[in-house]
């Protein structure tokens, strides 16, 4: 898995000469989308998306409501297929394999590409069983191994100290912020390669939000993270790259610093300065 992909394509499909992130030869590509289009019935939600996501980076997806940012990350683990009327065209290469091929099993993909959802969604089970759910799904029955995974995952999500004495209590007894970290720990328990986060802090208070943001910084050492956020400050704080989506298109994709200090596209500038959206 150490194939180095020189970036021949511009990151931005419809805006030329904007990319200053071409010299990325030290980083591996995790995801690459090629001319990705998606329709909900007759409505086109994603239009010719060409993006490249790198290993051990945080990539933020920003844009106004309905711009396709959530749809985009749900396409990366094919959760979008749970909606019956969805049609997809183009290619999504994950570690150089096209995950849109029929032969690519979603169960396999989702083991590598974990997801944290907008609303904390723990199972109505004990904290332990929530974390052990993924490993059990993948056939781990050994109690000792499960114990280890549970502790490691909860530590990874910085919630071990808060819950270690009540692992067998229902996860519904935790606060919203704690629940979201449980969901993150549950995601870590499947030992993913990539973590997708769909507005993970939008239902949380500022302190819980801060904790998640700190965690994201910590986790990017071991994982590649793609985070959808409607909070531009959040994107600016935690991400290395930012993609600005508008009406199903990528308007601009670049280093976060560049996007927030010197955007190439007028629409990006308008959006990040709060003139619309």
């Amino acid at each position: 898995m150490t194939v180095i992909t020189p970036n021949k394509n511009s990151f931005v499909s419809d805006v030329s000469g904007t990319s200053s992130v071409h010299n990325q030869s030290d980083k591996n590509t995790v995801f690459q989308t090629k001319d990705l289009n998606l329709w909900y019935g007759e409505d086109q939600a994603l239009k010719s998306i060409n993006l490249e996501i790198y290993e051990n980076e945080v990539t933020a997806i920003i844009g106004p409501s309905g711009c396709g940012k959530s749809t985009f990350i749900k396409t990366l683990n094919r959760m979008v297929e749970l909606i019956p009327v969805v049609k997809v065209s183009g290619e999504i290469l994950y570690r150089e394999k096209n995950i849109l091929e029929k032969s690519y099993k979603v169960e396999n993909l989702r083991t590598h590409v974990g997801m944290v959802f907008q609303k904390p969604n723990p199972f109505p089970k004990s904290i332990y069983d929530n974390i052990a759910y993924g490993p059990r799904i993948h056939g781990i029955r050994n109690k000792k191994i499960l114990d280890e995974i549970v502790e490691k995952s909860l530590r990874g999500a910085a919630i071990w100290d808060e819950v270690k004495d009540r692992l067998h209590e229902n996860a519904y007894g935790l606060s919203g912020g704690q629940q979201q970290r449980i969901c993150l720990a549950r995601c870590l328990a499947i030992e993913p390669d990539v973590i997708l986060m769909d507005e993970p802090t939008s239902a949380l208070d500022p302190i819980s939000t801060l904790k998640i943001e700190e965690l994201v910084q910590e986790l990017k050492k071991d994982y590649s993270i793609i985070i959808v956020t409607h909070n531009m400050q959040q994107a600016a704080r935690i991400s290395d790259k930012t993609a600005f989506f508008l009406n199903g298109e990528v308007v601009e994709f670049d280093n976060t610093n560049k996007i927030f200090s010197n955007p190439s596209d007028k629409r990006t500038e308008d959006y990040i300065t709060g003139r619309f959206g």
Partner: protein, 294 residues
């Protein structure tokens, strides 16, 4: 200028309030009718059965002598019948509900099945009796045994179980399924580990209510030719049997010959009502205990 004249309002207020009061009384009266009928009914059977229900009545076999007659046969028949009906309706009903809610593509085929299940729930029970007579009793040559009765009853209450299980499955929030799929679980793993545990209280409530309907059903068993005058107790699902509502039915008819049979019928009704009351209570307790967890 004002459109609403305070004086006019004051003048009409009286009649508005009278009408308001009238409406309240009218609706209370409507409720009262059902309530009064129920009370009269219960009063009649309870007074008729006083002195007839005792331990001997529950544990004795049938007898032509009203003083010695008991409903042990009918109770054990009911028990065996439920032993057949419960697992069959549970497995078929929940299986159908899972298929319709989780697997079937929303389309014409699914809508067609759905409409048929709803219609099936409205088919008169005696028609199911005829079906059971044709298919199980005669077609498969079972005779009027527990298995034939149980299968007939299972088919009769199946739509109730399917519909309530469907509702329970539909009420499981999508975000729980998403969480499971998001970790690479298959559909079956998701159903088994997430959907069914969350839907189980609702499913059980439906099954219990369906069983309580099956316990009180009489017409299909009459058609199957289930006897009331039966001395030996059933020992298994291939034995002949009778059930409480049938016992009530025949005793009520024979009350023309022996007056005390009316008291026996009343006593059996009380036993049956208590049983139904208990089952419904359990269903309500399960429902309340597990309601609104999300």
């Amino acid at each position: 200028m004002k459109y609403i004249d305070a004086e006019q309002v004051q003048k009409k207020l009286g009649s508005r309030l009278v009408l308001n009061n009238l409406a309240k009384r009218l609706f209370f009266l409507a409720t009262l009718v059902g309530l009064v009928v129920l009370v009269i009914l219960i009063y009649r059977v309870v007074t008729d059965s006083i002195g007839w229900i005792d331990f001997d009545f529950l544990t004795s076999k049938l007898s032509t002598d009203a003083e010695r007659a008991g409903i042990m046969g009918a109770i054990s028949g009911t028990f065996w019948l439920m032993l057949v009906v419960a697992p069959i309706t549970f497995i078929l009903g929940v299986g159908t509900a899972i298929y319709l809610e989780e697997y079937a593509k929303k389309g014409r085929f699914q809508a067609f099945i759905q409409i048929n299940i709803s219609n099936l729930a409205g088919v008169p029970s005696i028609v199911f009796g005829l079906l059971g007579l044709t298919v199980f009793v005669r077609g498969l040559g079972m005779g009027a045994v527990v298995l034939a009765g149980g299968l007939t009853m299972a088919l009769l209450v199946l739509p109730v179980v399917v519909v309530s299980a469907q509702e329970a499955i539909r009420a499981v929030p999508q975000f729980l399924r998403d969480a499971s799929y998001g970790m690479g679980a298959t559909k079956w793993q998701t159903i088994k580990n997430v959907v069914l545990p969350a839907a189980l209280p609702g499913i059980l409530t439906g099954v219990i209510l369906a069983l309580s309907r099956a316990i009180g059903e009489t017409a299909p068993l009459v058609v199957l030719g289930i006897p009331a005058l039966l001395l030996p107790l059933p020992d298994g699902i291939f034995d002949k049997f009778t059930v409480m509502p049938l016992q009530i039915y025949y005793w009520t008819i024979d009350a023309a010959l022996v007056a005390e049979y009316a008291n026996l019928a009343a006593a059996t009704i009380v036993v049956l009502l208590v049983l139904l009351f208990l089952m419904n209570s359990v269903a309500i307790i399960i429902r309340n205990k597990f309601q609104k967890r999300y």
